[in-house]
Amino acid sequence: MNNLLLETRQLHKAFGALIATDQVDFDVRDGETHAVIGPNGAGKTTFLKQLSGELRPDTGSIRFAGEDITGLPSHRRSRKGLARSFQITSIYRDFTALDNVALAVQAHAGHGFHFWRPAREDISLRRPARQVLEKVGLEKRANILAANLSHGEQRQLEIAMVLATRPRLMLLDEPVAGMATDESQRMIEFLATLKGEKTIVLVEHDMDAVFSLADRISVLVYGRIIATGTPAEIRANPEVRAAYLGEDA
């Protein structure tokens, strides 16, 4: 198992007396979908933010594709192919869906110091952006303002923006949060099509999503990873059942 795409060692983050991330060793293999589950307040989002670069760990290290990225800010990590989606939809509400995705394409097409040519007529940005919208099934909504999309569509757009940066690793923070059952089923099916093609870290509450998508699951409780394994192993783990699954089911 030497083809690790992402690894954290002794990752530690405290807010005052609260230890949000407690000496976490976490590995993501190239190509796998690795879910992180845990009860509310377990520190999942805090952990994800350290992976994406929005938060700095107090101690410990993060390596991505063999390179230490612990000190890199999030925009530099994005450039290296590490992209995240947000639990609470984070899009450019006053831009159209297509503009949103085109910006993500543009962000990875060299610097943006072009002052003259109209970016909205730039086929080298618009065409790949349209392809990504098609991929997530939003092509008919391309020219709608993002603010006017339905919640489910905004979640799709969120994923589209992650895809548009052509990431090697996608960090997805509760992609089906707040979706209706049929919407979330479609999102799960879509994410399943990415399996193998993209490496994914999936933080999710929805157990249907987790158990149908994940190759491996890590269980985070009070900032510690108490178990990592295949879905079957996690289901059978008595410690996990006690700490987490037992509470929910």
């Binding site: 999030s74 925009h75 947000f86 910006l103 072009h114 003259w116 909205r120």
Partner: protein
């Protein structure tokens, strides 16, 4: 390329402005030439402010600084006998850009109320600097005895020629700002205003783009300052007073934030209203005596009932 309804309206407005000199001459009212030239110069300054305030979401409360630097660049060179306009205006733009780079490098890292206060503080510093330099007239300022000279190409002492030069610069600035906000650079700038966290997540650090916009905006406003001092033929630190920064902000907001035509509409509305309330003899005396009060009431009403500014009344989409 098909032009939008708003672009047509803007073109019509510019044509109307182009018709003012012959009309003023015909009716024997040269005063209007002066008034509208002033309107256009402030519109140019407001366009520059709109780039950062409107499209960049950076509420600069110190934009009068660049008006002042542009004016001082012309006035100080003239004071030492250098009347070459290319040199004077070049210095106006260059010095404004440099000062904007220095102020921006510090202030653009902040946001919200801190940004407002830092830009205000820097501008007040420059204002007091202007007051303290006796050589250039201190707080009285000094006359600009000779207007900028352009080797016989254009004569700023001719009101009509000067008027058309300002109009041409205004038209150019409207076009430039439109191109800029629609470019890749412009979209990155607007994206950072819309959602900074998202920008970082897709790999865009807003800082260099915001700083570049801040410098461009300052440089453009420096040219407005050079125009203004030639217009008034008088140089005073009052150009940099914070109330002047406030007026520029008001023009942008009144006209319609982040719209192409907004700065022009805002500058025209504010300055023309001022003139009407102060001077029109058909209005009763009690209006003239307390014109600021009535101006204030009108402005409050416009802001309350036209949340998207005067440009919001125009047909077509918000652009």
């Amino acid at each position: 390329m098909a032009l939008s309804p708003r672009t047509w309206i803007l073109l019509a407005l510019l044509l109307l402005l182009a018709a003012v000199p012959p009309a003023a001459a015909y009716f024997g009212q040269p005063f209007y030439l002066d008034l509208l030239r002033r309107v256009m110069i402030f519109a140019i300054a407001a366009i520059s402010l709109n780039l950062i305030l409107g499209y960049g979401g950076m509420v600069s409360f110190g934009h009068a600084a660049y008006l002042g630097i542009g004016a001082y660049a012309v006035g100080v060179l003239a004071h030492y006998g250098i009347h070459n306009g290319w040199l004077q205006w070049g210095l106006a733009i260059g010095a404004s850009a440099l000062v904007a780079l220095a102020i921006g490098a510090i202030s653009v890292r902040t946001s919200g109320i801190y940004f407002i206060m830092i830009t205000l503080a820097f501008t007040q510093m420059l204002y007091y600097l202007g007051i303290s330099i006796e050589e250039y007239g201190g707080d009285d300022g000094m006359r600009l005895n000779v207007r900028s000279q352009f080797s016989g190409l254009i004569d700023l002492n001719d009101p009509t020629e000067f008027y058309y030069l300002v109009l041409a610069i205004l038209a150019l600035f409207l076009y430039l700002s439109r191109r800029l906000v629609e470019s890749r650079f412009g979209l990155v700038l607007q994206a950072a205003r819309s959602n900074e966290v998202r920008s970082r997540a897709i790999g865009l650090s807003p800082y260099p783009y915001r700083l570049a916009a801040f410098v461009i905006s300052g440089a453009l406003c420096g040219l407005a300052g050079a125009l203004l001092v030639n217009h008034t033929a008088y140089l005073t630190p009052e150009f940099m007073n914070w109330t002047r920064s406030g007026e520029l902000m008001f023009m942008v907001i009144l006209g319609g934030i982040a719209t192409t035509s907004g700065p022009l509409l805002g500058a025209a509305a504010l300055l023309l209203l001022e003139d009407v309330l102060q001077g029109w003899s058909v209005l009763p005396k009690w209006v003239h005596e307390h014109w600021q009060l009535y101006l204030g009431v009108i402005l409050v009403l416009v802001v309350l009932f036209a949340k998207r500014g005067l440009a919001g009344f125009l047909p077509g989409k918000n652009e």
